[in-house]
């Protein structure tokens, strides 16, 4: 086989991407070698099982994917604003909207939130690491190789092009031949292993490793949102796993689950996909709610209003999320009764969500708000998200949905909830907890620039799309030189570039703050407004998190600790701390499984079998691995604490 058989050829934009990817790759290899950083990379990052470092790697990957997905979005917007320019051809356009959707949901939103959970949840509950640190590293590397596999598709073999929903029969072997759709299936399958494992891992961590005295209803709200999200992950992801496996067997081994012939049921894919897909949108929005709740309480300097109502509404949302999936395909034609049932269950979700909105407003009511960058993102979230929520209820009315279905009205709706909800929360949470992660804050002035550019860009981009939808513009449409649509499309594109600019300022701020920001001296970075245990740790957080674990029997324990002048550190109670050893096994195991997936994508069975065997051998090695970790001696803990606390 010749190399040109699998490389994508004939597209100038893709050639450009190939060249730039090669250059960046060479530059990275050169820098690592020149500064002799290979050992550092392996010892400190590739083999780490520390939840804080794994979280940082998740967030870095997510930012990279936000860039990739964002570039896809810009290209689509250019095509739609200048339809006569011939910027993209129809095939390339299909590939781009497919990868944009898949990357933003699976490889940007989820890892970003999982990264924040990784870093913050153990700190909030007074734990020293995850319940299963090895498994946590495994989760990250399975996500990482899944992401890498999905992303190389556009230069090797060709991108998937059946939409992020990958509906059959379009995505079946008959109508999408070639490796493109296999990349989608294997990339999601591989990273799905990691998501499921993280769900179990965090669930056990939260249920079993809380500080002494901390009951479930003493937990910080972000930890609660994580726990509820974990339940959704554990129950929803197996459905995706099965659906992906069935479609893989269809495509690679010629089965007939979703085909048009042989009694296959193409719509069963949509049914299974959305049974996972609807809970999935709550997987990415509930942690966002948790982040906003933390930030709003911190900068309103009040206890979160209606803590119990907040928790129960999340639990109810999680339950309802499994009962609404059909509203994604009302137009399938299952009949008035089926549609009515799901229409009502859909609208029911607005009730607990409304409870949450009112609780945030009540927290803000009569409080002395401090307008920091994370607070700006959180305040912008409330009205923007309501616009998305209300249009969601409109879409939930089955009869009206026949008009809105697959139009830009829908596109505007889900971007309003996903960007104003999830993306705002990712930015807000990153800025909020940034000092905990890196020991310095992000620059506030640049942060505000990034916020306002992104905020206005977002509304200018997506608000016109509601009207485009009402004017009848369908989604995933390549030809748009219809005169009535053109002005709004141009406005929308301007907004998209505003968001892009905001993102660039945000990333520049990372560099700028690294160079010029003041280093943190206390752990309680936001003017002493921290309320939960993560702010009681020192900055930088020692690798064992808590030298002594405090006793907690209330919500916002750190507020009282500060009033009483206490810290979590009691020198007389220091005992040796049991910590897990670093290991390279998770990286190697997932590299093998990544290779196996790559083999399956091209249906090279020898490569696939070799990779699977490698993975199994690594699993057997793990089964006979008796490394129980090590103990941090008392002296070392006391020395570290003394230095960090300036005692």
């Amino acid at each position: 086989m010749h190399i040109t058989d699998i490389l994508v050829t004939g597209e100038p934009i893709i050639y450009g991407a190939m060249v730039s990817m090669a250059l960046v790759g060479i530059a990275l290899l050169f820098l690592l070698t020149y500064f002799k950083k290979w050992g550092w990379l392996w010892r400190e990052w590739l083999t780490t099982v520390d939840h804080k470092k794994i979280g940082v790697m998740y967030i870095l990957s997510a930012l990279l994917m936000l860039f990739r997905g964002g570039v896809d979005a810009m290209m689509m917007r250019v095509q739609l604003a200048f339809p006569d320019l011939g910027f993209l051809n129809s095939q390339h356009y299909n590939e781009i909207f497919t990868t944009h959707g898949t990357i933003m949901i699976i490889f940007m939103a989820m890892p970003f939130l999982i990264g924040l959970m990784n870093i913050i949840v153990p700190l909030q509950i007074g734990a020293r690491d995850f319940a299963f640190p090895y498994l946590n590293a495994l989760s990250f590397w399975s996500f990482f190789f899944g992401m890498a596999l999905f992303n190389i598709s556009f230069v090797i073999g060709g991108s998937p092009e059946a939409g992020w929903t990958s509906y059959t029969p379009l995505s079946g072997a008959a109508m999408s031949p070639g490796p493109g759709q296999n990349f989608y299936l294997m990339g999601l399958q591989l990273s799905g292993i990691g998501t499921l494992a993280t769900g179990i891992n965090l669930m056990v961590t939260i249920l079993k490793m809380r500080a002494p005295g901390m009951k479930l209803f003493h937990m910080p709200i972000f930890t609660w949102s994580t726990l509820v999200t974990c339940f959704i992950i554990v129950f929803a992801f197996p459905i995706l796993t099965v659906a992906l496996a069935l479609l893989t067997i269809d495509r690679i081994f010629g089965a007939q689950f979703f085909t048009l012939t042989g009694e296959g049921l193409p719509m069963m894919w949509a049914n299974l996909f959305w049974m996972w897909g609807h809970p999935e949108v709550y997987i990415v929005i509930l942690p966002a709610f948790g982040i906003f709740s933390e930030i709003i309480a911190t900068f309103a300097k009040k206890r979160l209003f209606g803590y119990h109502a907040m928790v129960w509404s999340m639990i109810i949302i999680a339950l309802l999320s499994f009962l609404v999936w059909v509203h994604h395909f009302f137009t399938m034609g299952a009949g008035a009764f089926v549609n009515s049932v799901f229409s009502i269950s859909t609208m029911l979700i607005a009730v607990p969500t409304g409870v949450k909105i009112f609780n945030w407003l009540a927290t803000l009511y009569k409080s002395k708000i401090e307008f920091t960058v994370p607070m700006l993102w959180s305040l912008a979230f409330i009205p923007s998200f309501i616009l998305g929520g209300v249009t969601g209820v409109m879409l939930g009315m089955a009869a009206a949905d026949y008009q809105f279905h697959n139009s830009y009205f829908l596109i505007a709706h889900f971007h309003y909830v996903l960007i104003a909800g999830t993306v705002f929360a990712c930015f807000a949470g990153l800025v909020f907890w940034y000092p905990k992660m890196f020991g310095h804050k992000m620059n506030e002035r640049l942060g505000k620039w990034a916020f306002w550019l992104f905020f206005f860009g977002f509304h200018v981009c997506f608000f016109p799309q509601y009207f485009l939808g009402l004017d009848g513009m369908p989604r995933r449409l390549f030809i748009t030189n219809v005169v009535e649509w053109l002005p709004l499309n141009v406005i929308s594109t301007v907004g998209a570039f505003g968001m892009g600019l905001g993102f660039i300022v945000f990333v520049y701020n990372v560099y700028y703050s690294f160079r010029y920001s003041e280093r943190e001296t206390t752990g309680d970075s936001w003017n002493g407004n921290g309320r939960t245990l993560e702010w009681a740790t020192t900055t930088p957080v020692p690798y064992y998190n808590f030298a002594t674990v405090p006793y907690v029997d209330e919500i916002d324990p750190y507020v009282r600790m500060k009033e009483e002048g206490k810290t979590t550190y009691e020198e007389s109670k220091v005992k040796p701390i049991h910590m897990p050893s670093y290991t390279g096994q998770p990286f190697i195991m997932m590299a093998f499984l990544g290779l196996a997936s790559f083999g399956l994508v091209f249906e090279w069975m020898y490569v696939a079998v070799f990779g699977l065997l490698g993975g199994i051998i690594m699993m057997i090695r793990r089964s006979f691995d008796y490394d129980d970790g090590y103990y941090v001696p008392v002296d070392e803990i006391k020395r570290t604490e003394k230095k960090a606390r300036g005692l």
């Binding site: 339940f231 049921l265 069963m268 034609g333 970790g629």
Partner: protein, 124 residues
């Protein structure tokens, strides 16, 4: 975690071999055997139940005693069954319309009617 005993976990090894054997038998029944379809389906169903039993009793913690929060495995299994119920009942509820394995029977007529209706609509 501190005291892992290094003897071979026989229970797990037997369970592993059993579950592999049952998977192979199921695959043989579907691909290699000459059994009638009905018996293949019944056989696979029985094997699936046995397989679930092996998983639950030899690997999972069903035999574990109750802890402070009730019997945790049973609680989680309850959620699992509830979800399985939603998936199966929900799929039947939403997906069983317009289908008839009697090709050319009612199903065909329904489709025809639908087409007819669509034509009516376009006529407006």
């Amino acid at each position: 975690m501190a005291h892992s005993n290094k003897r071979v976990p026989m229970n797990h090894v037997i369970g592993f071999i059993l579950s592999l054997a049952m998977t192979l038998v199921a695959a043989w029944a579907a691909i290699g055997s000459d059994l009638p379809v009905r018996w293949v389906i019944i056989g696979i169903m029985i094997l699936a139940l046995l397989q679930a039993g092996v998983q639950l009793f030899m690997f999972m913690h069903v035999t574990e005693a109750e802890s402070g929060n009730g019997h945790v495995p049973w609680n989680m299994m309850f959620h699992g069954f509830a979800l399985a119920g939603i998936i199966v009942a929900g799929s039947l509820f939403t997906m069983s319309f317009g289908f008839d394995h009697n090709h050319g029977g009612d199903g065909g007529e329904q489709q025809h009617e639908q087409q007819h209706e669509q034509q009516d609509h376009s006529g407006h």
